[in-house]
Amino acid sequence: MVVTADRPPTLPSPVGTGAGAVNRGPDISRWLRSAAPTATMAGPAFALFTILMIVPLIMAICYSFTNWNSLSSTLQFVGLANYRKVFSGGAGMMRPLVVTGVLSLAGTVVINVVAVTLAMLMNRPGRLYKLYRSAVFYPYVVSAIISGFLWSAILNPQGAAEHLLHGLGLGAAPFLTNGNWAVGCLVLVISWNSIGFSLVLYLAGMQTIPSELIEAGQVDGAGPWRRFHDIIWPLLSSTVTVNIVLVLIGLFQTYALVLALTNGGPDGQTQTVAYQILAIGYANGELGYACAGSVVLMVGTAALAAAVIGYRRRKESSLT
């Protein structure tokens, strides 16, 4: 009996092996050739991203350490003076930071709770439900500035809301003349403006849930709340994460709505960080200070978004 062992496959010899051979290292030209199509296709987008996002970001960080007034080509390095001013009380951004935080957190909760509730109610076939979904989505296409002016006309002391209250025999409500009420109105208007987008995301997420799972729950006797809590909600985890992060980042940048609805008043009590940066820092020619505020806002938003994503990922992995 002859036993032959399988010969191992013959590997190609390295180029130039043997006496006098030269090791040329990795094949760069081959790498370049293989990377060329990727670079060609991604290049324009990368260039645009760099020019429109990265370069302005680096410039803003640089300007934040100067006293640039936007008019002059000369500027002076002022160290951390702008950042100290950002975190000072009075003329600084401490109060706007608090207002931005309240708006963002309250708005995120309201938008997501209402959107997921509406998604549950509207996740059904039929023309009527399509109409409901369109009606809820419609405010999202109205720009923040228009929304602000529209609601300002409704909520101001001569607006429709006061007329309605008067007609019902109720006293006037200080919608935009009291600081706390004005912040509350901002939360509601922001939510009205933004719920449509979150609704669409939640509806899309719900439609990826296999209907058999929900039917199985029904068969097992689970009521609507149990089906939502034990089946739908866990499977919506990633959609919830996306919604929370997107809404939070958007609300941190609230400016146009504040400008149109309250113009930062009364007495500056609804000024957000973005409002301070644009309507005050920029308007007063304090570009260095405005850039410092922008950097603080960016770092804060990024840190919060990272924290939320990290927390939600842990939650998602504990559910699967």
Binding site: N69, Q158, Y282, G285
Partner: protein
Amino acid sequence: MKRRSTKRLAALAAAGLAGAGLVGCSAPHGTSSTGGNKTGTLIWYVNKTATLTPAVYQKVADGFTRTHPGVKVRIINQGGQGTGPYFQTLISSGNSPDVGTGIAITPQNAKDFVNLAGQAWARQAAAKNPLIRDYEINKGIYSTPAGYQIQDLIFYNKKLFAKAHIAAVPTTYSALTSDMAKLAKLGVTPMADSGSFIAGSQVMAMALSTIYQHNLLWEKDKSAGRVSFAHGPWQQAMQIYRQWIQKGYIDKGAVALQYNTVDNDFLQGKYGMYLVASWFTGNIAQTPPPFPVGVFSVPTLDGKTPAPQAVVAAFNWEIPTAAKHRTLAEEFVHYLSTNQKQAIAPLVKADGDFTQKPLYHLDSVGQAIQKIASQTKVEGVPGGGENVEPNGFATYMDQVVQGLWGGKSAAEVAHELDTWWNSNKGSSS
């Protein structure tokens, strides 16, 4: 050969004519615009309002282009409180207009604007117009105001005054408050007010009409620490203002109203009085109210009359050093500042502004204002030239005065103003 030499001669002749035209055009002239061979599109940044419409500005621009063939004027307009900031944005983004308005020129930022002191026409205009001298920085002429607004005025509804049996206009604050009580009994809100810039400017008018009797350099003294908002005319004015709010003589919801809403409401007879600057005459002319309108000077806190009037330049044309057509811009500003018939008169008439001698027919309200101006000292406004306030003061003033509606005392608001000024002085850029 003959043809080529003809072409060469023609080219030389054209070049010579162009050169002569350039030399001719650059020489200073009197009040009329010069013709010239300069061509190009001049960017003119203006402040658009309800009465200063693009059509008004276009007519002014047409008067210049008629005498400057080959020159076009492109008008960029911006309205409301964003005029100055947007001007800054355009300059910083590399799209500087050639001529614009809205940025307060200070010793810190004067180097970013063209100094016209070298132009004979500018020096002559400054010699005749004290307002131009008020805006000088270290003897440099960086802007040439062509008209002025008077700030410390109260327009009133004569019909309501008669109904309330108010026989004479008040000259003291106690009389003014008493007249407000009479108007309130009629069921109207005595004093019109709104958020945005109206509340802040009303308090400023009430305080400055007293301050100007004694001290025209209050801002300089404030930055040097010699005066303060607390314990003086500012705090007194805010105390009176707060009382008016508490008594309902000023709408408790005014901070949430836009100023143009209140302008229209006054013209519809919803308010008895409106403390606002003379530009309001433009609104009255545009939308004549169904009642006669009168005007009187804001009282002084110590009751002394007549109160000195503060003026603000109505059309303060500036040329950024970043302007692309600087020579053309200087000619255009020369035209805007000195051509009374085609440039100054249409603008001041539309805006309800005034000049040293009236350039348009004044109605009864305009005549009353001109009479007030002639009977009182008319002084330059603070924040002009070297007597500067910190950047953003007017905006902060508008914001912090709203605290009087929210329950803050006059002393608290005065303290906030002092704190803000002290931490921002020296930031006038």
